[in-house]
């Protein structure tokens, strides 16, 4: 089957191959393989079960993105942008790495004075190191249909960041990755995170527009946690209305490692967030949580697979969302407990509030269990705002708009409580509280 859109990406690869990172090393062969994979399979479409609710092929074909140019001149954030997610976390003391149109912008970044034992560099600079190669070449045992898009990223990834924390080191400040789109077009990025034994780090991720309207963000994040390592991760997605956001995170956890990831989706046209967690060692723990507040014609698809390959691990997934106007929300989750992965505790929950007649939600929380001594549960609820609660507030003189907003924030707050960083959590809550009127966040200096 010919897939013209996949072909256009392959054409881009042919044009740019010489300038892509690692063009003269081992990575070149991997890229070639990925291109063949992409050519054979094409982009994923609705007839693949994992893509049932998001036809990426169709979306990208209609959008017809061209590669994003290297941005020239200063990056300008409009007042509109500063009111939204782009402004978040700026009050928190942190290391800052800014990508504009998918390329590192050193002027805006602040990655100096890192503690000893921490490497934070563009991944192209550390391609020679064993750990980056291991992460890039890593194959997960179960090959999901949903992972097929990583071939696209493999072929075209042009920039990105590599974070390495040595054994026993705790990163003193969060690392904030800021991905801005200043010009229209497609950008492909890769993030590599490796925490050695007992290392700890917190990573924030912000995706927002800095003037661009029609763009495609393709990001793959590879995470590898050593024994007892802890990674806290908060992602805020606040893309432009006409943007397509495709993000895949794959994490492998060694014994007693802990991943705590939280995703907030506030903006974007069509977005697909994929998280794959594979337990490699015992007694590890993964939290993959999130919240979304959608309106307009936004379409947000969250896809999450937790693979309990070994015994005694815990996983917890909870996504909550509100959907207004004609927005569409999707939650597809899967907990796999493989044979012998005894004493697994796997939890999965999704709740959605439909605020409008034209909004819709699809949920598919799956369990696949091959071991008997396990505790697994999933739940899903869908409904509208509680009329009695609304009446209660109205009867006490609170106007409808405020009452609704109160109930919505209360609903989302429960999910936001999972965000694994106190100050960041408070900022996210403020963002959600202002969801109805995006005007009440201060618009001071941004980055």
């Amino acid at each position: 089957m010919t897939d013209a859109t996949a072909q256009s990406f392959i054409d881009t690869f042919e044009r740019e191959r010489a300038s892509l990172p690692g063009a003269d090393g081992w990575l070149a062969a991997r890229r070639e393989a990925a291109v063949r994979e992409l050519a054979d399979a094409g982009l994923p479409h609705r007839r693949l079960e994992d893509w049932k609710y998001t036809d990426l092929r169709d979306v990208l074909e209609k959008a017809a993105f061209t590669p994003a140019p290297v941005h020239q001149g200063a990056v300008f954030l409009s007042e509109e942008d500063t009111r939204n997610g782009a402004a978040l976390f700026h009050a928190i003391d942190r290391y800052k790495i800014v990508f504009v149109n998918g390329r590192l912008n050193r002027a805006l970044s602040d990655m100096e004075d890192l503690p000893e034992g921490v490497v934070l560099k563009p991944f192209a600079d550390v391609l020679g190191e064993a750990w980056t190669k291991a992460l890039i070449e890593r194959r997960f045992e179960i090959n999901w249909q949903a992972q097929s898009v990583s071939a696209l990223n493999m072929a075209l990834m042009a920039d990105g960041v590599a974070l390495h924390v040595e054994e026993g080191v705790t990163l003193d400040k969060p690392v904030h990755l800021i991905f801005l789109a200043a010009d229209d077009g497609a950008s492909h990025m890769r993030t590599l995170v490796r925490l050695e034994k007992q290392a700890q780090a917190t990573v924030f991720e912000t995706h927002a527009s800095a003037g661009a309207a029609h763009y495609f963000v393709d990001l793959v994040t590879e995470v590898s946690l050593g024994v007892g390592a802890t990674l806290n991760h908060i992602k805020l997605q606040d893309e432009a209305e006409d943007a397509v956001h495709l993000a895949t995170m794959r994490a492998a956890l060694a014994d007693e490692a802990k991943l705590d990831s939280f995703t907030m989706i506030a903006g974007g046209g069509v977005s697909r967030g994929q998280t794959f967690v594979e337990f490699e060692g015992r007694a590890a723990e993964a939290h993959v949580n999130g919240a979304y507040a959608l309106r307009g014609k936004q379409h947000a698809d969250q896809f999450c697979v937790v693979d309990h390959a070994v015994p005694e691990c815990n996983s917890h997934t909870h996504f909550k969302g509100v959907l207004d106007d004609e927005s569409q929300g999707i939650f597809q989750g899967k907990v796999v407990v493989r044979p012998d992965a005894q004493q697994t505790d796997g939890r999965q929950m999704t709740n959605a509030l439909l605020l409008s007649r034209d909004a819709s939600i699809n949920a598919k929380p799956e369990l696949e269990i091959y071991a008997d001594d396990v505790q697994c549960a999933h739940g899903s609820t869908i409904g509208e705002l509680d009329k009695d609660a609304l009446f209660y507030l109205r009867s006490r003189g609170i106007d409808e708009m405020t009452a609704r907003q109160l109930l919505i924030s209360a609903f989302l707050d429960e999910a936001l409580d999972y965000a694994p960083h106190e100050e960041a959590r408070a900022e996210l809550k403020a963002l959600v509280a202002g969801w109805f009127e995006a005007g009440n966040l201060s618009a001071e200096d941004i980055l």
Partner: protein
């Protein structure tokens, strides 16, 4: 935990004994393979009118271009549809003369289930005419129904005697082109039941396939059509708790239910076909399409199933809730053991206003079996105030089995309230300990706990089925501990 294993093993072993079952019914078979001629042959054998033949042929032509579905979580060798018989007429003289000739182990199982002697004879394949005075039973039965105006007959008879009703409703719920197996069934269906309940009639008794004398050997491609007119009610029982043997490996049945305003159909199934031996050899492949259409306002369709047999079960009894205020229910117990594979669930399609549905699914997986719940709850845009509650629980017994849950929940209307919850666990040591500490032997304790686990569903079965089903659950778990 070998409890369930043992049971199914027991049942499996029992089934290994072939005497009591005829194997030499060559004479009345249609030629091997499936061609237009086979379809014509079947139709001619049944003296069907021209329109029925056309209907079958149309299905067959469609089927030729269809592909076998692969999305279910079941694995089996590729079936050669051209290397099978699609019609074999029953032979009256093929069975044993009396129960003395029947394998004692089989009888033991019947005994445990508490099946009456006369019924045992029928189940064991003892030539009914010779020993079972069924004629009188059936006669009284038929008279009573006639009085009420209920039509209950083999579908082949209905095609001849009530062509207008059949023409109007056959294929109206499960279209000829619905899916691979339903289309196959449409082309070659052997027989099945036809039930018509007239307006305002409450069927005076529970209808059961058991009472249809010519039931024997028609199980392969069964076609059932039940129509409940305005304000009527019927409860229909299908199958039986005792292990059943069948010569045909592939089963592809279609069941269609239609309810008009204020009507209700309660459809209960107990399926205990041959599950294959301990290595997963043999056994029935059961690919069933069951669907109910709540066409009228305030109508209700309720599916209850106890699935314990078959090597492969592929079955999704569904409800189309078209009429306002209509209600769909699905209660299921699926027990799998040895190498059995179950992929079953339901679809609740909410189209009308104020429609509600309830799904309770209990999967019990033991041995090396695989048990999947696959369900869809879909709320369409114009369906206001929809309510759904779904609960699917899985119980794992032993560490070689697997349990999966694949629910799809789709809502396009904000007034819908949908709740879904699922759990997977094993029998907890605490529960076992509690029972045993009070003097309940381990085996009984397991049966007790599992029966408790299934209670919500068992309660939905009609009385006569419930007692047997409860025992069946117990038997299925015998020897599974220790």
């Amino acid at each position: 935990m070998a409890a369930v294993k043992e049971t199914v093993e027991t049942v499996g072993e029992v089934e290994k004994y072939k005497y009591g079952f005829s194997t030499e019914i060559e004479s009345e078979k249609a030629p091997i393979g499936l061609t237009e001629d086979t379809v014509r042959y079947i139709s001619a054998k049944k003296n069907e009118p021209e329109w029925m033949l056309e209907w079958r042929l149309e299905a067959f032509r469609r089927w030729k271009n269809m592909e076998e579905p692969t999305w279910a979580k079941v694995f089996y060798p590729t079936m050669d549809y051209q290397n099978a018989y699609y019609y074999s007429a029953p032979k009256q003289t093929a069975g044993p003369e009396s129960l003395d000739e029947v394998d004692p182990k089989l009888l033991e199982t019947y005994e445990k289930l508490g099946i009456p002697l006369e019924e045992q004879k029928m189940l064991a394949g003892v030539a009914v005419d010779a020993v079972f005075d069924s004629v009188s039973v059936v006669t009284t039965f038929k008279e009573k129904l006639k009085e009420a105006g209920v039509i209950f007959c083999p579908i082949s008879e209905a095609i001849r005697d009530y062509p207008d009703l059949v023409k109007k409703y056959l294929g109206s719920v499960v279209p000829v082109t619905d899916n691979f197996f339903a289309t196959l069934n449409s082309a070659v269906f052997s027989d099945g039941s036809f039930v018509y309940i007239p307006k305002g009639v409450r069927c005076p008794m529970e209808l059961s396939t058991y009472f249809r004398i010519n039931e024997k050997q028609t199980g392969q491609f069964e076609r059932t059509l039940i129509i409940a007119e305005e304000g009527s009610y019927v409860s229909y029982l299908e199958g039986c708790t005792a292990p059943q043997r069948d010569e045909n490996q592939l089963h592809a049945a279609v069941v269609e239910l239609v309810t008009m305003d204020d009507a209700e159909i309660k459809y209960s199934t107990v399926q205990n076909w041959y599950p294959g031996d301990e290595n997963g050899k043999g056994g029935i492949y059961n690919f069933v399409t069951k669907r109910g259409d709540c066409r009228g306002k305030n109508s209700k369709i309720s599916w209850t199933q106890v699935e314990t047999g078959s090597a492969i079960t592929w079955k999704y009894p569904s409800c189309i809730l078209r009429g306002d205020n209509s209600r769909g229910e699905f209660y299921s117990i699926a027990i799998s053991n040895t190498k059995q594979q179950v992929d079953s669930g339901t679809k609740m399609i909410h189209l009308g206003k104020n429609t509600s549905s309830r799904i309770v699914s209990k999967g019990i997986s033991a041995g090396g079996s695989s048990n999947t719940y696959r369900g869809l709850v879909s709320v369409h845009k114009k369906a206001e105030n929809v309510r759904n509650f779904t609960q699917c629980d899985s119980l794992l017994i032993g560490d070689k089995c697997s349990a999966h849950t694949v629910p799809y929940i789709e809502a396009k209307n904000p007034t819908a309230i949908l709740e879904h919850e699922a759990t997977t666990s094993k029998i907890s040591d605490e529960q076992l300990f509690y029972c045993m500490q009070r003097g309940v032997p381990e085996e009984e304790a397991v049966a007790l706990i599992v029966n408790g686990f299934c209670r919500d569903v068992l309660q939905q079965l009609p009385m006569e089925f419930a007692v047997e089903a409860q025992k069946l659950v117990g038997i299925s778990l015998e020897g599974s501990v220790g």
